[in-house]
């Protein structure tokens, strides 16, 4: 890629003399090549995984209606996911290429297997529900998908954390909580919309708890990251973050106050779904913003060096004896 953006803007009359701490302001790491479909997939994946877990909970507590509806909500996520992924890869066969290996060091590979397991379980369970057959297979499938759904709803956070994008990598502690929070609020919200309020208590609680976790984890993350929190609070990502928080917060409030009425549950669920989607878009955009500005890459790494946890990749001259005799403070 050639970069023309810096001309005339950042440059003073110094001309081709670059700023001292970067190479003409060029990014050091590459921005994700992923398009919008990927954060949307993150949302649907979370919805599917958390819904599968919710369905298992409902099944275990004998709430058949909620179990059934959560399964269907999860199916929406499962059905939406592959097209989004394939859209990014270009053609369907390329999705299958990920199934030629099991590779633990690749969260994307792990996630693909989790998607298959969760999706497969949900599909069987949903099929049985629809046709009203094979209840034991349905329960087995629900159990499987519910268990796999937990990591499936979470792995996308690991996927983005396992990159060189500073706003993602350095947020590796909180991001999974942001993501499960969003997943729970989306799954709970979706189930609350389509389930009669009398059967949706657990879904409402799930949704509210999820939204609270999402908001809390988001605040903690932004605060802890310091300079690297900037991408989450500035620019387009900042607007998305604020919008998602308002939406999720409002959704949780409405769910708590008016969730026992169908219309209230519908409004709250919609807000929560939107909030979760916006949160994924915000995280995605924040990653892009942090990749674009080399300051974030350098800052995080310089801090490591300054903190003494690393000496960096540079090594300097000096014979061993000289190291001792030079009047260095070390």
């Amino acid at each position: 890629m050639t970069h023309f953006d810096s001309i005339g803007r950042d440059r003073r009359s110094r001309g081709s003399n670059p700023a001292p701490d970067s190479y003409y302001g060029h990014p050091i790491v590459k921005e994700p090549v992923w398009e919008l479909g990927i954060p949307i997939y993150f949302f649907f994946g979370g919805l599917a995984g958390a819904s599968a877990a919710l369905a298992l909970g409902a099944r275990l507590t004998g709430n058949a209606r909620l179990a059934r509806n959560a399964t269907f909500a999860g199916m929406v996520g499962v059905v939406a996911s592959p097209p989004l992924l394939i859209r990014d890869l270009g053609k369907p066969a390329r999705f299958a290429a990920m199934l030629r290996v099991i590779k633990v060091t690749s969260p994307m590979n792990v996630g693909t297997w989790l998607l298959n397991a969760t999706g497969g379980g949900l599909s069987v369970a949903a099929g049985c529900e629809l046709l009203g057959i094979l209840p034991r297979l349905r329960d087995l499938a629900t159990t499987g998908s519910g268990l796999f759904g937990l990591p499936f709803a979470t792995y996308t956070a690991a996927l983005v954390a396992d990159t060189a994008i500073p706003a993602w990598h350095e947020a590796r502690r909180e991001l999974p909580f942001v993501f499960i929070g969003g997943a729970a609020s989306a799954a709970g919200g979706a189930a609350a919309i389509i389930t009669p309020p009398s059967d949706a208590g657990a879904a409402r609680r799930f949704a509210i708890a999820g939204a609270l976790v999402e908001l809390a984890a988001g605040f903690v993350m932004e605060h802890r990251l310091g300079l690297l929190g900037e991408p989450y609070s500035q620019g387009r990502a900042g607007r998305l973050t604020r919008l998602s928080r308002v939406t999720a917060g409002a959704g949780a409030a409405v769910m708590a106050l008016a969730g026992r009425r169908r219309i209230g549950a519908t409004a709250a669920g919609s807000l929560l779904l939107a909030g979760a989607l916006l949160e994924r878009l915000a995280v995605f955009e924040a990653g892009r913003q942090s990749a674009r500005d080399p300051r974030y890459v350098v800052d995080a790494q310089r801090r490591r060096v300054a903190a003494g946890t690393s000496r960096g990749a540079s090594t300097f001259a000096g014979l061993p004896d000289e190291r001792e005799t030079l009047p260095a403070a070390s």
């Binding site: 001309i7 005339g8 440059r11 009359s13 110094r14 001309g15 081709s16 003399n17």
Partner: protein, 865 residues
């Protein structure tokens, strides 16, 4: 100096980097901080066009501080020679030498002769530019010069009329302070460079100069190199390992194109072309070209062998070996004269082989206007270059000065094979011939130059087969038989090389030019190349790696003459034949074998020892004293003072470029007096110095190349991988100039001269810095010249704005230093472009008469219509 070697000769520059790594000091003196400056150990910035002042300062430093290599200077140069008392220096005549003829604007060199030498006026050397010399012929190489030492000498170098003292006086005013005022450097910069040169010269050390077209492309370019030669002679750095002056050629085989010339005035091996006015027959030609001593003492053998190569068995002693079939030249037919001839209608047809004057030649706009006057034009190139398409897309069509329908020129475009699609040899800068094999067959109709020339000749001969016109005899009787290979009937390049190498009467290949005979028993296509195919081995194709042979690398390719890697290497030993030092030994006299021995091939009579004294009546090499290494001169001495051979003076003198914002600080005479200019409305000049209107062009501009592109762009602007590296025309300016003229980095600027205006992207960089010159601040503008209207990446051509003013010796254009104006924004489109240009003052008549800016009368057209 005068070279941006890292950028334009990156492959050769590896050796400079290696030298730097081995501890050599690399000093770059240049108007810009380039990639060469960045990798040198020292950079000195000077104003473009002031190198003689800087070099003159070094000469002055050497002489003032007694740093010359005295024994070398006394024994090997003409420093002790006494010059006639008729000689007057620029010191005496305000910037002129004696012998100036104002009417012809040329020098006669009678008063530059050695005291006691024959003052015959016949001694001129290829003075094509000077009309007075044409009547007397284009004198040969040192012909008529006295054999052996100059008649009167003072080995103590004290005589006020000896060359050494003349030199001292001549350069006495080039003090560090004065030089700094001219060049814009600091006096300490000059002292640093001078001291570094002196410290690295002498018995134990040598220093070398590297120059390129940054020195040659000036109206006083030959004298730039002369100044460096004087420094190197004073310091004893010629003919010794690590010394010398490296003339880096502009691109592959440019050296070859003067050895086997594409020039109008010489035959292969630097034999002068016979002139019509001289009415020479073979005998008088030989007489006029033969020097009493040195390598030019056997011109008869060279020319007769050449004629035998041309006309084979038909060349006999009875018919003067067909000497009369050789064309005669009637004047200056150099490229720029030919261009003006097109404008005037005297040149009707034109071949362009690997040349793109519409972009690459000085004042390229004039060339486009001239091409539009031709009846026919043949362009042979890899791609459709601007010179082939000017009739439909020249910028002058946009301005309304040319209309496609009005252009009578019939253009034939012939696709050419590239260097990987044909076999042949390159001759590079160090006279090294290197054979290159064919890698792939050319595509489509593309063919080699050899194919084109051979078959063109064949077809013309076939068409003329029944002609009885005497003027066709030379063509019809040429020995034009070469083996053809392949489906395309490509002539065998090695057969041509064997013809160049030459043969004995029995057909065996010659091994040295000493074997050439004047009786017609030998043939040789170029006497300096004789031996390149010795013993039937293509020596130019040798590729023994350097780690398998000695330092001189004598088994890699073949260097003319006689595979000598260092010319005049007799000078690597002292007059007694011993190396000057163990550290710098190369050739020495071996008493036991009575021969010169060492790592190189001796550039001297191999069995003439230091005690050799030429007997009376000796000729050629036999006439050279055993202590005089410079065998190209009849006296065997290197010429610090040039009594002949240089038309603009026996000593170099600083002159301002044709176009410069400054007067000459050293002399009343501003620019080189005999420089060539061409006054006509289509070829205006900027007013300079103190002339009225000069302040319209306050900046110094210089043009140059970038690593990423090749000259006029034919080989690079059409290649994606090169085009992307430098995709647009830009100009380099300092932050200060940017502020002064409101130029925005990354924006556009328009560069204006009296000829045209071009636009370029603005690259503001501290690599270009304002200079303090003669008490005022001057800004320089850097212009790469690679772009044109065709290709993947396009842009305006810097050559559109440069002047057409030439060095009088070699007719090289001055494109490295001129004056200009620069303004922010893009240039006007259409006819408005000409209105902008014509709003600036100009000179179109001799005598530095400035014409006021023209009113914009509608319909005002330049001469091009």
């Amino acid at each position: 100096m005068g070279s941006n070697m890292a950028e334009n000769h990156p492959v050769a520059y590896q050796w400079v980097m290696e030298a730097r790594e081995r501890g050599a000091q690399v000093i770059h003196v240049d108007p810009r901080f380039t990639r060469t400056s960045a990798t040198a150990t020292k950079w000195v910035q000077i104003r473009a066009g002031t190198d003689i002042a800087f070099l003159g300062g070094i000469v002055n430093y050497i002489l003032e501080n007694g740093r010359e290599f005295r024994e070398y200077v006394v024994e090997y140069t003409n420093a002790p020679a006494i010059i006639t008392d008729e000689y007057r220096d620029t010191e005496d005549l305000g910037g002129f030498f004696s012998g100036w003829d104002e009417a012809s604007r040329s020098y006669g060199n009678e008063t530059w002769r050695y005291d006691g030498a024959d003052p015959s006026p016949m001694h001129g050397h290829r003075e094509m530019g000077a009309p007075t010399d044409q009547a007397t012929g284009f004198g040969g190489h040192s012909a008529g010069a006295p054999c052996c030492d100059p008649p009167h000498m003072d080995p103590t170098l004290e005589d006020p009329r000896c060359v050494f003292q003349i030199l001292k006086r001549h350069f006495s005013r080039y003090t560090p302070e004065r030089v700094a005022e001219i060049c814009g450097c600091s006096p300490d910069d000059l002292r640093f460079v001078a001291r570094a040169l002196c410290d690295n010269s002498g018995r134990e050390r040598t220093a070398s100069f590297v120059y390129s077209v940054g020195w040659t492309q000036h109206t006083v370019g030959v004298q730039y190199i002369r100044t460096a030669a004087i420094i190197q002679l004073l310091l004893g750095n010629i003919g010794r390992p690590g010394g010398g002056i490296m003339a880096l050629r502009g691109h592959a085989s440019i050296q070859g194109s003067t050895d086997i010339p594409t020039l109008f005035d010489i035959l292969p091996g630097y034999l002068p072309m016979p002139a019509a006015q001289a009415r020479h027959d073979l005998r008088t030609y030989i007489e006029s070209q033969t020097a009493p001593g040195g390598i030019w003492g056997t011109v008869d053998a060279y020319i007769v062998s050449l004629l035998k190569a041309y006309w084979g068995d038909r060349a006999t002693a009875e018919n003067d070996f067909c000497f009369d079939y050789l064309p005669r030249i009637s004047g200056d037919h150099s490229a720029y004269q030919a261009t003006l001839g097109m404008m005037d209608g005297s040149v009707k047809g034109y071949f362009l082989l690997g040349e793109n004057p519409a972009v690459g030649s000085a004042h390229s706009r004039l060339h486009r206007l001239a091409l539009a006057h031709l009846d026919w034009l043949v362009v042979r190139d890899l791609v459709e270059i601007e010179s082939a398409t000017f009739w439909r897309d020249a910028p002058e069509i946009e301005t309304g000065e040319l209309r496609t329908g009005d252009i009578p020129t019939e253009v034939f475009f012939m696709p050419a094979a590239s260097h990987v699609e044909k076999a042949g040899s390159f001759t590079n800068t160090q006279r090294l011939l290197q054979w290159r094999d064919q890698a792939v067959e050319p595509k489509g109709d593309a063919r080699s130059e050899l194919w084109f020339m051979y078959h063109l000749g064949r077809i013309i001969r076939e068409k003329l087969a029944n002609s009885t016109d005497p003027r066709d005899r030379g063509l019809l009787e040429l020995a034009w038989e070469y083996p053809l290979t392949g489906a395309t009937e490509e002539p065998d390049g090695e057969a041509v090389l064997r013809e160049i190498n030459g043969r004995q009467a029995d057909g065996t290949l010659l091994s040295a030019s000493a074997q050439l005979k004047a009786d017609g028993s030998t043939t040789c296509g170029c006497w300096i190349y004789c031996g390149c195919y010795a013993d039937g081995v293509n020596r130019t194709a040798r590729r023994k790696p350097h780690w398998e042979q000695g330092l001189e690398g004598r088994e890699w390719g073949w260097a003319w003459p006689q595979n000598r890697r260092i010319l005049y290497n007799r000078a690597s030993a002292d007059p007694q034949g011993k190396p000057w030092s163990e550290r710098k030994k190369l050739m020495w006299w071996d008493e036991a074998s009575q021969r010169w021995v060492g790592d190189d091939e001796i550039d001297f009579a191999p069995d003439h020892g230091p005690d050799y004294r030429p007997p009376d009546g000796a000729r050629a090499l036999a006439a050279i004293d055993g202590r005089r290494p410079f065998i190209a001169h009849p006296d065997g001495r290197a010429w610090i003072f040039a009594p002949r051979g240089v038309v603009d003076g026996p000593l170099p003198t600083h002159f301002e470029p044709e176009e410069s914002p400054f007067a000459n600080l050293l002399y009343p005479q501003r620019a080189n007096p005999p420089r060539q200019r061409f006054f006509r409305p289509a070829n205006p000049y900027n007013p300079s110095g103190d002339s009225p209107g000069a302040d319209a062009y306050p900046f110094v501009m210089t043009t140059y190349r970038l690593t990423e592109h090749h000259t006029a762009g034919g080989m690079s602007r059409f290649v994606p991988h090169l085009s992307e590296l430098q995709p647009e025309m830009f100009c380099e300016v300092s932050p200060e100039l940017a502020a002064l003229r409101a130029l925005e980095h990354g924006g556009w600027a328009t560069i204006v001269t009296s000829r045209s205006a071009i636009e370029a992207r603005v690259l503001v960089t501290e690599r270009i810095r304002p200079l303090d010159v003669q008490g005022k601040t001057v800004h320089q503008v850097g212009l790469p010249y690679h772009w044109g209207r065709n290709g993947i990446v396009t842009g305006d051509s810097a050559n559109d704005v440069v002047p057409l003013a030439l060095d009088p010796n070699v007719h090289i254009e001055e494109v490295k230093a001129a004056s200009c104006d620069i303004r922010p924004g893009r240039r006007p489109r259409g006819p408005a472009l000409r209105r902008l240009v014509e709003s600036y003052p100009r000179i179109t008549r001799d005598g530095d008469v400035t014409q006021a800016p023209q009113e914009h009368a509608p319909g005002t057209r330049s001469e091009g219509r």
